[in-house]
Amino acid sequence: MSKLITVSPSPHMHGKDNVKKLMYWVILALLPAFLVSVIFFGIGALIVTAVSIVACVGFEYLIQKYLMKVKPTISDGSAAVTGLLLAFNLPTNIPVWIILIGALVAIGVGKMSFGGLGNNPFNPALVGRVFLLISFPVQMTSWPEPVVSRTQYADAVTGPTPLAIIKEGISDGIPVSELMGQIPGYFDLFIGRMHGSMGEIGALALIIGGIILLARKVITWHIPVSILATIFVFTGILWGANPEANADPIFHILTGGVLLGAIFMATDYATSPMTPKGMWIYGIGIGIITVVIRIWGAYPEGVSFAILIMNAFVPILNKYIKPKRFGEEVQNG
């Protein structure tokens, strides 16, 4: 035998899934929602997405190569996922330079400062998004009209999201039944014909994406289900108590970033708990904080903040909520 044989500790076999595949599945699962955005926001959706992905991947490459001096790992696709999700969280008429700042913050501050893939305590795309929201409140809160097959980028006609309409209206004391007339119907909300950030509008498409991820076992059901159930129940109670001062639970689920957040962003591996029980607490926390911000806070939308806030709790959840060890508590029968 001329070659040297290899010696390594067991196991000697390995599963087929790898990081790259998982990330590309996420991208694939986001495609339906992306198509919905292209239909309703046209060229803007394309430009925002392209700029965001290229910027995120590019910044990751530059930071790894020139600042950290390690081998760039952009091909694992995680930066592309961050870029895509950042784009999904922006209005489609946002100036390109703002996207660049958002990408730099998401990747540079949110991810690479902590050592890159898997090390970040906060969801990078949301760090980027919230940073922009607070820095550029004007640009971040004017959403273009959803019209099929638009071709120009910066559209003059902008309008508030359904959530903003409801929130503003309720704070002015207008009954919800009246406000409902000002927003698109449930079917439109379901397919995505509404004002909003690029990727949050198409409920149906997002659910299809979620089913893909669940079927491929990229994510587990615990986080999405616990978030959606909590929001449903919490807003349901408020609505039941006073249907004229609170929107109904279906409305809350379909609008804003709830589905996008619950399926794609709260499930981000690095920033979510490791055990099912931890995931439940995390999901319920996100649900409650989302509703609290939506109903009582300054912002009409709270999912991004809720996820970031619960991200901060994840290390503590991981530390104190452990799987029940085999043989730990013997209940023999």
Binding site: L4, I5, T6, V7, S8, P9
Partner: protein, 288 residues
């Protein structure tokens, strides 16, 4: 003088005195007997109570200083070096003057002397490879070259030589902290007396197998032939389990042993070149 001035003086002074008095009484009443050195140390500390030492307050830090056996890595960001020196004096904990030591790597199995027989593909830690098997060469004692010793050194005193695949100690940086000695799963590293001009002479092998076996796996292994033992005029060399060992405190650096070793297992480093003989084969590239 206006009223305000009078009131100020009266109230503030009274407050000061009151505070001092109450404190004094309470301190007397609730006295707890403690190691008096804690007070002394605390006085030396800046008293900024900033938490910079990662302790909750100067007193806690003082207690830790008094308790700790080794205070060299307890650090207060506010205190000056003089403060810390004074504290060390109070505690009598400065490291006693010892014979200076330095870490020495006792394996010279470079790839040319010790060919690879297989390829290791596990996690890059000597301790893991060691618990798995003999290593990439056939020598069960030889350096695994995965650098556990390098990683534990806090002083950048040890690095891997790319060519030889063996660790190299930089004598000037080494503080003889023993970290690498503990880290090496094969006990290859030894703290030896630091000689003048960093001169070293030692058996660079710890393989205790029989000569033939050892030599089969590594050309520069000590084969336990005992020639050096006979050669040494100071009885500094002992032979046990097929392995010669030079006692660093008995050795007088006479260099007589090195040339007689048939496998060149004895290394001499930082000596002037020998006149008659040409460069010896066994000197590792990194340590010439």
């Amino acid at each position: 003088m206006s009223d305000v001035i009078v009131y100020s003086i009266v109230s503030l002074s009274l407050l000061g005195v009151l505070a001092a008095l109450i404190l004094y009484i309470i301190a007397q009443k609730f006295k707890v007997i403690e190691d008096p050195r804690i007070d002394l140390v605390e006085q030396e500390l800046p008293g900024a109570n900033c938490g910079g030492c990662a302790m909750p307050g100067c007193r806690a830090f003082a207690e830790q200083l008094v308790k700790a056996d080794d205070i060299s890595d307890l650090n207060c960001p506010v205190a000056t070096n003089e403060n810390m020196a004074a504290i060390a004096k109070i505690l009598g904990k400065e490291i006693a003057e010892k014979e200076p030591l330095v870490a020495v790597v006792r394996c010279n199995g470079t790839p040319e002397f010790r060919p690879k027989t297989n390829h290791y593909d596990g996690a890059s830690e000597c301790s893991i490879a060691h618990s798995l098997y003999v290593g990439e060469s056939g020598c069960p004692s030889g350096c695994l070259g995965l650098g556990d010793c390098v990683r534990v050194c806090n002083f950048d005193a040890i690095h891997m030589d790319e060519k030889t695949g063996l660790p190299v100690v930089i004598d000037d940086k080494c503080t003889a902290c023993n970290a690498c000695v503990v880290a090496c799963p094969r006990d290859i590293i030894e703290l030896r007396k630091k000689n003048k001009k960093d001169r070293k002479i030692f058996v660079s092998c710890i393989n205790e197998e029989k000569g033939g076996v050892a030599r089969k796996n590594c050309k520069v292994a000590c084969i336990g032939c005992g020639r050096c033992v006979k050669e040494c005029p100071f009885e500094a060399i002992t032979l046990e389990n097929n392995l010669a060992y030079i006692d660093p405190f008995k050795c007088r650096l006479c260099r007589k042993c090195a040339p007689v070793c048939p496998t060149n297992a004895i290394l001499e480093i930082n000596f002037p070149p020998r006149k008659e003989k040409k460069e010896k084969e066994g000197t590792p590239a990194g340590e010439k």
